[in-house]
Amino acid sequence: MFPMNVVVCVKQIPDPAAPQSLEPGTHTLARSGKLIMDDSDAYGVEMALQLADAAGGGEVTLVSMAPGGETSGLRTALAMGAAKAILISDDALKGSDALGTAKVLAAAIKRAEPDLIIAATESSDGYTGTTPVQVAELLGLPSVTFAKSVTVDGQTVKVERQTESGFDEVTSPLPALVTVTAGVVEPRYPSFKGIMAAKSKPVDTLTVADLGLDASTVGAAGAGQEITDVAEAESRSSGEIVVDEGDGAARIVAFLETLKVI
């Protein structure tokens, strides 16, 4: 048995069920209201809890970067059973791109000295899918993406990596970073006791300066990208109505053939 400390990256995002808007100047998603845990990260949290449990000890620590000192989404993951959280929140992070986010997350993760880092394959709102591997690179750690199964055996992690045609079996030494898909495990419901306990679990809120990062390398100042304009997506053209005049079936078949689906 090796007690295992796992860090899970948890992105807190505006509730996808609520109406969304863009900030007028920067064209970025408005993140002023309450943020919730990205559903994609629930799988990582569950995986981490199961791995720590299977290892017979160790802790799950959450790491998140979010504006406004937001902890609502973290409380959800703490209620599921994570022990503590590190939140990086700083006005200087406004306008961060994925690399800037990765720098901040990497600096925070380092402090937790994890054996394993778990993130989602991609977030539900930004979905560049680039942040986790950049975190791994910045920390000089191996990374394995698209995990549909994760097991830890002593000092190595074994991953079934989803591919188009099946899966690869990948083994990596620890510490390492793994991104998980939605199929990896079924996230648990938080128990009522867990929800009540979550409010008193420690959330360490840090600024860019606390992490010892140079403010000019993160946020808008360090961003290598800028959203210059946003345009309405072309609306989908209406479909074609096929009126059956005895040849309906044949015309549908012909149409499906043009799509190469049959």
Binding site: R75, T76, Y189, P190, K193, G194, I195, M196
Partner: protein, 408 residues
């Protein structure tokens, strides 16, 4: 309190997810296919750790009873948040299946509650724990074919002393969980051979188990609503019960004496009914707002017609009032106070009438769709109607409120 706290909202969201994933897909079987609600309720308990919380609470209650300590007169904030923690699932589940909440409330609230309050430690261990965790299902049986509102006076089920035992005869009706109950808390009139008018004889409380000789449980009744809550009859023919089944193992009011025990429950079940009503009202209002925006007639959404607006406004008034009553109850529990019988009756009377009226208005607002099962408000209207009948009819609430007012 004027709104739910962050933690309470987190509990609400978690329960909503459970309702969406575990209850909605089975709703047709529960409401129209005679699927008993108990396995889903047990899953609810296991999912949220409510079975463990029940075990912890059982231990505390048992310790209190064995040490002879009174329950804390002024409970701390913790007890108040417990009231909220219990009511939030009630409200959320009542948005979809009030019947399931009836089944749950009768088993853990009325049946287990009565045993835990008035049973001996041995009786608490024998029946209380399994009921609190839902390992076993309980009924609470007072109503009879010829006595509902007049349950204590008109009761004809008898318990005849026979040495140290009792012989029970009679029948009970409209008993929630009756068809499936493992454990039944049952009220009967003492027959001690004296010629006291049966109206005025002592009422005793017994605990029965499924399968006792001479004890029969009927199949579920067909009824207007609350289909997720099986309701039935109980028949007792010379059922012999030892003193171990007399609550508290004493005929005194502190134990088996049934009048006080029945009245204890009036307050808690009336407060619980108000929370159930809130769930129905919130759901009907949400569905009605969406429909009023969506349904277009004469070229505009029906929400623009003033007669539709009046319905929505009335629903909102009811929602605010009932929510305030529920918040008041939670605050009072937090302060270690309980509602008086008259207060609980007033709360239940208003909430029950409001839920029925709101749900019927929702049916009206939906037009023909409102009458169709697919749109769900017809089920809520049928389910809400019983709030005005069980746990004391509207008319009986009026008598309890008036009695209190006139005695001042």
């Amino acid at each position: 309190m004027f709104e739910w706290s962050e933690e309470q909202l987190a509990i609400r969201d978690a329960v909503r997810r459970f309702v969406d994933e575990e209850i909605r897909p089975k709703l047709d079987d529960l409401e129209h296919g005679d699927l008993p609600p108990y396995d889903v309720l047990r899953k609810l308990y296991a999912t949220f750790g409510l079975d463990q919380l029940a075990r912890d609470s059982f231990k505390r209650q048992l310790e209190r009873k064995t040490s002879g300590a009174e329950p804390p007169a002024r409970a701390g904030r913790g007890e108040g948040s417990n009231a909220a923690m219990a009511l939030i699932p009630v409200i959320e589940m009542c948005k979809v299946t009030p019947g399931m909440v009836t089944a749950l409330g009768v088993s853990t609230g009325l049946a287990a509650g009565t045993i835990m309050k008035r049973g001996t430690p041995a009786q608490m261990e024998r029946w209380g724990l399994d009921l609190l965790t839902l390992d076993k299902i309980g009924s609470w049986a007072i109503t009879e074919p010829n006595s509902g509102s007049d349950a204590l006076g008109g009761m004809r089920t008898t318990a005849k002393r026979d040495g140290d035992a009792y012989i029970l005869n009679g029948n009970k009706t409209y008993i929630t969980n009756g068809p499936y109950a493992d454990t039944v808390v049952l009220y009967a009139k003492l027959d001690d051979g004296s010629d006291t008018d049966i109206r005025h004889r002592q009422v005793l409380t017994f605990v029965l188990d499924r399968g006792l000789e001479g004890f029969e449980q009927s199949a579920p009744f067909r009824k207007m609503g609350q289909h997720s809550s099986p309701t039935g009859e109980l028949f007792l023919t010379d059922v012999v019960v030892g003193r171990d089944r007399l609550l508290g193992e004493t005929e005194k009011e502190s134990g088996g004496g049934g009048r006080a025990s029945a009245k204890d429950n009036f307050v808690s079940e009336r407060a619980g009914t108000a929370a159930m009503a809130l769930g129905v009202i919130e759901e009907c209002l949400a569905l009605s707002i969406a429909y009023a925006k969506d349904r277009v007639l004469w070229g505009k959404p029906i929400g623009e017609f003033q007669l539709i607006q009046l319905k929505l406004a009335n629903m909102e008034v009811a929602r605010l009032n009932v929510e305030n009553l529920v918040f008041r109850h939670i605050e009072m529990s937090a302060a270690g106070r309980s509602l008086s019988l008259a207060e609980a009756s007033a709360m239940k009377l208003y909430a029950a009438q409001a839920a029925s009226a709101v749900a019927m208005d929702a049916v009206q607002l939906f037009g023909g769709n409102g009458y169709m099962a697919e749109y769900r408000v017809e089920q809520l209207a049928r389910d809400a109607k019983v709030f005005q009948i069980y746990a004391g009819t509207d008319e009986i609430q009026v008598t309890h409120i008036a009695k209190d007012l006139l005695s001042r």
